[in-house]
């Protein structure tokens, strides 16, 4: 009798069991970020480029600006709300004044006045901003959207690409250790 009752209860446990399996798969789906597309550029040299700066259309910058020191290249635009959100984090990193680290902006698919306004209002964490309204250089860097952040070592090799905004967690757990490690390498 008790055995048949146990059997009966077992039957009613099936839906719960199925659901647990389902949650397993859904949980897995959450941990694999669909945005993590490995960039084929990692481990390669930065592409050659020549771009005007955001502040001064007549001043040209080339790939040489990204060599000799560790750089964070941050792709941003004034039309992109999460870039605005990320901005505060970048300000914080800039204010820390880490030796041998420069933050370079790649102002992407944007318009000059709006981008300049945004820096005036929120502050400017960048040592220099490359102005790329037509995605010429963005394409070579494999930029899919804004914001994205590249970590580049002092020899101009792309070491890492972060897709989406940099928040405190990303900075402390991923980017900062990587930057320290790159600085330690000669």
């Amino acid at each position: 009798m008790s055995q048949s009752r146990a059997k009966k209860t077992l039957k009613f446990l099936i839906p719960l069991g199925l659901f647990v399996v389902l949650v397993g798969f859904l949980g897995y789906g959450l941990t694999t970020d669909p945005r993590k597309v490995p960039s084929p550029l990692i481990g390669k040299s930065i592409p050659d480029f020549t771009l005007p700066t955001l502040a001064d259309p007549d001043r040209q910058v080339t790939q040489e600006a990204l060599k000799g020191t560790v750089s964070l290249v941050n792709v941003w635009a004034s039309w992109c709300p999460s870039c605005r959100a990320e901005h505060r984090m970048l300000m914080g990193i800039a204010q820390e004044g880490i030796d041998d680290l420069q933050i370079v902006g790649l102002n992407w698919k944007d318009e000059r006045p709006q981008a300049q306004d945004m820096l005036r209002l929120f502050g400017n964490p960048y040592v220099v901003n490359l102005f790329d309204p037509d995605n010429q250089v963005g394409l070579d860097f494999g930029v899919y959207g804004a914001p994205e952040t590249f970590v580049i070592d002092r020899h101009g090799i792309i070491r890492y690409k972060h897709i989406g905004p940099v928040d405190a967690e990303v900075w402390e757990q991923t980017l900062r250790p990587l930057v320290q490690q790159l600085k330690a390498q000669s």
Binding site: R35, S39, P40, L41, A77, W79, C80, P81, S82, C83, R84, A85, E86, H87, R88, M89, M91, A94, Q95, K109, R120, L121, F122, G123, N124, P125, N135, Q136, G138, L139, D140, F141, G142, Y144, G145, A146, P147, E148, I163, G164, P165, D167
Partner: protein
Amino acid sequence: MRPRTKRLLFVGLAIGGVGVAATLAITALQSNISYFFSPSQVIAAEAPTDRVFRIGGMVEEGSIARQPDGLTVLFSVTDNAERVQVSYTGILPDLFGADQGVVARGRLGQDGVFYAEEVLAKHDESYMPPEVAATLKTAQTDTPTTAVATQ
């Protein structure tokens, strides 16, 4: 005993039916899924040549060429390492364009050109994970001072 036998028969039929259905469904699934490959994988010959798959990447600037019939378009899809030529006959989605992310479904031809049956374009190019919306509020309160401090 009779109702019990009947009941067993019914349950047996139900289980058998579900089993058959599941087998059919999964067999059919195997032949109806399409895998996803990047241009690099295609060039490295990892993609199948005998079945439909999907390829994704960016449409390369200046690569879009319309054929004289007005409906066939050739373009290359790149992951910035390798590129694959794609041919598509038909009407492209509204958001298709140079420098845009794109996913095409079709077959790889003997000539190395990917013959697409379907082309999908991405909707938006801004990453907007709104967990950062929470930080916006704090950002706004102390922005003015920060702005002054850095200029």
